[in-house]
């Protein structure tokens, strides 16, 4: 999954059926500290995320279809969570003191 920040909404009335009646959110990809890590994705919202919120994206088709409860369809990127907090520490087996960054 990926961390991202909601920066807008894509409004569309002509689209593949799987997107009917769904909100499309414009999401900047961010690193664990919340800084843009380059790139963005348009994701189908499933949790009611709002602008400026840090969110969790799934970017894989079969998971996306499973979550939406559809058997087929050109969907792979969903907002599946609203992040409250990201606590990141060092890697290499020596966890440093966790640094809390607000979501």
């Amino acid at each position: 999954m990926k961390l991202a920040r909601v920066v807008g909404t894509v409004v569309s009335t002509i689209n593949a059926p799987v997107f009917d009646d769904r909100t499309l959110l414009l999401c900047d990809l961010v690193d664990p500290r919340g800084a843009p890590s380059g790139g963005y994705l348009i994701a189908v919202d499933t949790v009611g995320a709002g602008p400026g919120e840090t969110v969790l994206l799934i970017d894989e088709g079969s998971s996306a279809r499973q979550i939406l409860g559809v058997k087929s369809g050109p969907v792979r990127t969903l907002v599946v969570g609203i992040v409250d907090d990201v606590v990141s520490g060092e890697v290499e087996g020596r966890p440093a003191a966790p640094q809390r960054t607000s979501g």
Binding site: V7, N15, A16, F19, I42, G61, V75, R76
Partner: protein, 98 residues
């Protein structure tokens, strides 16, 4: 999915059987501010409605074929929606279909 602008059409009479009857458009992927980003690609127009210079969004990889009537065709990019507007909060909209 990402934003793109329709910049052309591809006509190909000799092609892999799975591609018959599929409208092929040249699209220029855009960054979220609406600026060209990376090279152009040829995408299948799943909606048969995208016109020249239209702002669309597309999906890549396996899901592109899922946009086709027959989901087992050699398609790796597909236009899956026409953008009416992109409403952003901070720094201005990417622009609707101009």
């Amino acid at each position: 999915m990402q934003l793109a602008r329709v910049v052309g059409t591809v006509v190909a009479t000799v092609k892999t059987p799975g591609l018959e009857g599929i409208r092929l458009l040249v699209i220029q992927p855009l960054d979220r501010h609406g600026r060209p980003s990376g090279g152009s690609v040829v995408a299948a127009d799943a909606l048969h409605t995208a016109g020249p210079d239209e702002l669309v969004y597309f999906v890549a990889a396996r899901e592109a074929a899922e946009a086709m009537p027959d989901p087992f065709v050699p398609v790796d990019h597909a236009i899956v929606g026409i953008v009416d507007a992109v409403a952003t909060d901070a720094d201005g909209a990417a622009g609707g279909p101009a």
